[in-house]
Symmetry: C2
Subunit: 316 residues, 2 copies
């Protein structure tokens, strides 16, 4: 085991290599990850965590790329985590990602990392939260979590960020009702992107109508910002809305509430991770595990009974 105290110091100083190493532990080495996260945890809690989600094709990456320089102008250090649909064949790197990294990381105040999280113990959300903790301890003022997909896990992650930006594009088709049902409601700021292609008025109207129906007594009314990110149009207004939300967040009860919700989620997920490590991969050897799996597959035993048998007598 390498000297984690040195690694900790490196992360806290914001050294890129140390940060990268700590995040790699999260992806690949649970034991080291736990140890380093324990050391880093007291240094977390300062960053503003901004979640960005929206369907594929809505332009999330472009928006983040255009937004980042505005944050840098205010001398804010920016950490970006792109949640990556891991490919079973390739390991899941997003093709365009390396190009983005080169452009943005020419600037020392920006750290961008795509996370391949398939199969990590405790799930996507645990791994993302751990990576946020590393970037937080590293002194980033703003941490952007950008999801590629719009599944439930991704919506949950963004929902527990301090602020959520949801991006839609008017050119998206008939499933829009479904998207709305799931993700519109988590938005603190809703971006209608690619408005240069027209046809956004109806969408805007529908969204406003939908929001009015939500019986919310929150002080913050979700804002709609219209952008054409690729042409850098609307980014400044978006930036203003983010600042205005940030100010609201800092002085509201939402801040405390989200902090508690995030803490609860972390506790629950880490308990799950420990259990899998101990019960499933620890106590149960490969041979026994295979035997249970075979029995379940062949309907000789149901999985609930199997789980009960495996857990019986286990002691932590």
């Amino acid at each position: 085991m390498e000297d984690l105290s040195l690694l900790k110091d490196g992360v806290i100083k914001g050294e890129v290599r140390s940060i990268a190493r700590a995040i790699s532990f999260i992806e690949n080495n649970p034991t080291q990850a736990k140890a380093i996260l324990k050391l880093l945890y007291p240094f977390t809690g300062k960053a503003f965590i901004l979640g960005i989600t929206g369907p594929p094709g809505s332009g999330k990456s472009t928006l983040v790329d255009k937004l980042t320089p505005f944050l840098r102008q205010q001398n804010k250090r920016v950490g970006i985590i792109a949640i990556d649909p891991t490919s079973p064949y390739t390991g899941g790197a997003i093709l365009g990602d390396r190009i983005r990294m080169q452009e943005l990381t020419a600037d020392e105040g920006v750290y961008i990392r795509s996370m391949a999280t398939r199969g990590s113990l405790g799930g996507l959300s645990r791994a993302t939260d751990d990576a946020v903790a590393v970037l937080d301890a590293a002194g980033n003022d703003v941490i952007i979590i950008e999801t590629v997909g719009v599944g439930q896990a991704e919506v949950d992650i963004v929902n527990l960020a301090h602020g959520s930006i949801v991006i839609l594009s008017p050119e998206l088709g008939d499933d829009i009702q479904a998207i709305k049902a799931g993700i519109i409601e988590i938005a603190d700021i809703l971006v209608i992107n690619k408005i240069d292609k027209g046809g956004y008025e109806r969408m805007e109207g529908e969204l406003r109508l939908m929001w009015e129906q939500f019986d919310t007594d929150q002080r913050w009314k979700p804002k709609i910002v219209k952008t054409t990110a690729v042409k850098e149009q609307g980014i400044e207004e978006l930036m203003q809305q983010i600042e205005s939300y940030h100010q609201f967040f800092l002085h509201s009860e939402t801040s405390k509430k989200k902090r508690l919700e995030r803490s609860e989620r972390r506790l629950r997920e880490i308990i799950q991770q420990y259990t899998l490590e101990k019960v499933y991969y620890g106590n149960l050897n490969q041979q026994k595990r295979d035997e249970y799996i075979r029995k379940i597959a062949e309907r000789e035993m149901d999985p609930y009974t199997a789980a009960e048998e495996i857990l019986r007598g286990i002691r932590f």
Copy 2:
């Protein structure tokens, strides 16, 4: 507790009310769900499980709606589970869903159910697998799992179905590379939908090129089918490809492998569910839990140490 043996009989006879009740247990009542699933499990393992995913706007629902009558013509009973992004405000019903239900369920051989799974213990995938087990025991020949989002959890679910259909639409924009990285590789059949709008040739070419790069020694070569679902074009060819894949699946090693992988996933997820029930909601009373959460939120304790403290001495 109601008479679960009667409920079991009802499900096995394919009675709609019993099926609906069993799935409601999965969503809302873990204790009853476990009990009924144990009873039903020996009757499962017969259905062909078909996963369908694709980005919002690609036309998944329409495709499923058009495909189902073809399956019915062959006298196959069809169960459809639509995985629903649950809204924190509304509880998450997809707006168009009720209309679909009315149309398809006029036919007694079709059962369609959208599942709101946010927050269910053990997660989205555990709840979906449980619902599949109910529909399987109920005598459905084909069970279609249709995801609304394309997040990692959704891709994982579809990947472990017996066969996976991925739907894309050429009109989707610049994030297509990202989609490819995550979901193209799980497709047994890839549908390019909405080809009446043109512009699909490039997409088709890129997809073929991408597949050639995968170093796969599988016997089944993924197929591309071009459709315009809304006009019922290409559905018959899709149907043929599904049958052809089904035949391959029944006589291949893939069948055994997927069965084992599904069983493994179920075992792991159910162990996680049991642990949360016991450790997090059982042993730890609300007050103690809140105290841990507060300490984590205020950085007095890191979540890893908290989880270790909570687990210490726990005995199943």
